[in-house]
Symmetry: C2
């Protein structure tokens, strides 16, 4: 066997074990008996330690030194393996262990602090996690890049904070003024009544199928927080139901189907190889968001969904398709990122992005974080945070040390805007299909231009190839101004 083949055999086994570890997470969130939690922690730790040992195995370095790629696929595999190996080797195992312990502790403290609305109880744990992540960033960055970019690389390989920042800064004023203009208008129509859980799940299943989710290689369960899990031939999604809020269930499902079909539609030849999963968090989010918003919340598709909901639930207080479209896209005041509409969502993300960059750079101290959060929130949203669980304590990310993750949400939205523009250009008359609940042309375009490639191209190159040029924030902004201008008669 050649060095490349030996490396890939080893890697394939690592990928299989990594799928097993991921499924352990799925199990915990969906079917695990509650009393199993203590044992599960040991199982997780054993799998994590095992995967860490494989990722830092010295043979990988030897194989990488000798391996000669025969084609572009091999070159891409080697590039991804090398990047992962070099990053992992730069972090001393003592630091990796400290981080694992510290984030696990901080996560529990955060959950209690949020419950108790007690920022002070969380800050010492946050400081510890932050300092360890800064230390890790210093190991990763060397003299080559900023601390923040070194962390960002984990979630969005190849991205630079300065470029994202330029994009977001160009987007923000347009969003703030769109938000302000809408606030002056009346409230959107709202659904009323109780939406039975079984019927919500049934329509959820129909929606997943309508967006091309393959149930032969997947399943839908309920979970507290919806997620998609797994790659290759076993990609599972979860959703949730609330009796008075059916859109939460339906659009969570469509969102997760975006993530899941991305994984399902990757070229079979890449199964259990580094190319066999989504290339970056930003591209992943672009798929979930274009399914959920540009397609799922379009006037055409909501027309079809309105009929389906009338069939399933009878009269639910919405008089016609236009009102339904407005209800699905209602813009409303709120504090919580995950509940935000398309107009305000990215304002939430940009706030976090700017604050976490300042934290990592050392320009903002943890003790000043709550004040900085609340000030920025009031400036962007026009009203004040009323309690910590609506502000600094709302997101899990920082407690888990995930600095560098937030911007990928907005980058995903920007990419979704670009992809939607290109899709509409390439597939004329798409709305006729969407109005019948038929997404096949749209999802085929995304499969062809984005999803099938897995990790073959760098994220930014992949999007550039798909849209035929450099990505920018402009398509997203134009789309939002057009859509919400129409709905709110601006």
């Amino acid at each position: 066997m050649s060095a490349y083949d030996e490396l890939m055999t080893f890697q394939r086994e690592t990928e299989a074990l990594s799928q097993v570890a991921g499924r352990l997470g799925w199990d915990m969130e969906t079917v695990m008996p509650p009393g199993a939690i203590q044992q599960r922690a040991e199982e997780h730790a054993a799998m994590a330690s095992l995967l860490h040992a494989r990722r830092t195995a010295p043979q990988i370095g030897e194989w990488l030194a000798k391996a000669e790629p025969a084609d572009d696929v091999a070159r891409a595999n080697l590039r991804l393996i090398r990047r992962d190996f070099e990053r992992t080797m730069k972090v001393p195992s003592r630091l990796a262990a400290d981080l694992a312990r510290s984030t696990s502790r901080a996560h529990k403290i955060w959950a209690k602090a949020r419950e108790a609305e007690d920022v002070a109880a969380f800050l010492p744990a946050l400081s510890e996690v932050l300092e360890l992540r800064r230390e890790e960033a210093a190991c990763l960055a060397g003299n080559e890049t900023s601390l923040y970019d070194a962390l960002l690389e984990e979630y969005e390989p190849g991205a630079k904070a300065s470029e994202l920042s330029a994009m977001f800064d160009a987007l923000r004023p347009g969003l703030v003024s769109l938000r302000e203009a809408i606030r002056g208008q009346g409230r959107a129509p709202q659904v009323s009544g109780i939406f039975e859980e079984g019927a919500q799940m049934a329509l959820s299943t129909e929606l997943a199928a309508a967006f091309g989710y393959d149930f032969e290689c997947g399943r839908i369960d309920k979970a507290v927080h919806p997620f998609s899990s797994g790659s290759g031939l076993d990609v599972r999604i979860t959703t949730r139901t609330a009796p008075t809020d059916p859109f939460n269930c339906f659009y969570s499902t469509i969102h997760e189907v975006g993530h899941a079909t991305y994984e399902q539609n990757i070229d079979d030849a890449y199964l259990l190889t580094p190319l066999g999963q989504g290339v970056s968090m930003g591209v992943h989010e672009s798929q979930s968001r274009i399914y959920e918003n540009q397609l799922g919340r379009s006037r055409a598709f909501t027309g079809w969904l309105y009929g389906k909901m009338r069939d399933a639930f009878g009269d639910f207080g919405i008089a016609g398709e236009e009102d339904f479209f407005a209800a699905v896209n209602a813009v409303h005041d709120g504090y919580i990122r995950t509940e935000a509409d398309e107009v305000q969502y990215n304002l939430h993300v940009m706030l976090r992005f700017d604050l976490e960059r300042a934290l990592i750079a050392g320009d903002l101290q943890v003790g000043d974080l709550e004040g900085a959060w609340n000030e920025r929130f009031a400036a962007d949203f026009g009203y004040s945070v009323d309690r910590p669980s609506h502000g600094l304590l709302q997101d899990v990310h920082w407690s888990e040390g995930l600095f560098g993750y937030f911007p990928t949400y907005s980058l995903g939205n920007v990419y979704a805007g670009c992809l939607h523009e290109a899709l509409r250009r390439d597939v004329p008359g798409l709305d006729d299909d969407l109005a019948k609940g038929d997404t096949s042309k749209a999802t085929a375009w995304l499969r062809e231009n984005v999803q099938q490639h897995g990790g073959l191209y760098e994220a930014k190159d992949l999007i550039a190839r798909a849209i035929g040029g450099a990505p920018s924030e402009q398509p997203l902004l134009s789309y939002l101004e057009r859509k919400f201008g129409g709905i709110y008669g601006l």
Copy 2:
């Protein structure tokens, strides 16, 4: 850290990974999307290879050489680790790999051959598996023991075929004549009607709770073949439903609850250590069978169950408790081991035990196996096998190379007989409780005397301690003659 502590830390991680691998099996049988099968095979293989590497890690030998046990628990842990390590090291990894490949292939061939009623299609694969297992047995046996005992040791450590054989040979004539006597009597009453699946599962859940199954650390799902899976704090069971045969569901559930509560009731201090699981297949089966039969099919308990079934299903064609007791314990002609009643079950097992011993010893050739099976069946049961899927092709075990496994089923029944006798001696008036669906005194006795100890004592010693003497087949035979003599008025 002492050598013992280092060894136990390593072992604890291995046990955790082994639980993960086991849960992968649970997932496959209950919730896995069908299209995932090919990827799952690679995941299984990766976990198996990983666990094999850990079981043969050279450090184990070094730790074992240095470790000094501080107490009985440590001594038992070292005994179990040493036995597993020495057995694993005796088998060349080439042979282990050949066996894995060969049994995986033979299993698929067996499934097709059974479907097609084609013995000839299965025999070459069976020969290959048999030869590899004989080769493995030779590695394990050295000059110290017989080939068969070397295999038996895997499932029932410390057991000898000669002792089991003496026990079974003493049991067999009594069973054959009891069977013949019953065949002369009329048919037992039978249930009629359709038993709705949801109601079967609901009563199943109630039965599991009645036998002390802890749902905080477990769950019930449906599977094609009922099983119990996992140890420690996450022990899951499955059952199945058939619309016209509610006993299949209920007694499968009680049987699996016997296995599962054994695992759940092991001393918490043994969690994720070698002591933290059932000590042998025979003792495991003793728990499932005493729950299912001596308790679950007792006159007292069936009286309670009759009331429950009347509540759930109304009139189902059984006139009263006595008839219901007879229906639950109906003895009927049949070919299939897993469907056999208490009287005939062990005849099925002894047939396989005698044949597989002859195969391993080289006294019986694979080409003569079907003839030998059919001849023995006619002699013991009084009628002839009508097709291969009712004979040689009915069980999965040999295709998977599980020679040495069958006798543990009957040993479990013998142990259940012994434990039941001792239980009745120690807990007078038990039937008053069972008649109210209250098994708590019985299950507490079993937890106290058997289950809590996990792997602390050798299987035979454990049973001897529990019953206060050497186990024998006599209590089982007396119980069967008394019970079925009463039902059939012999």
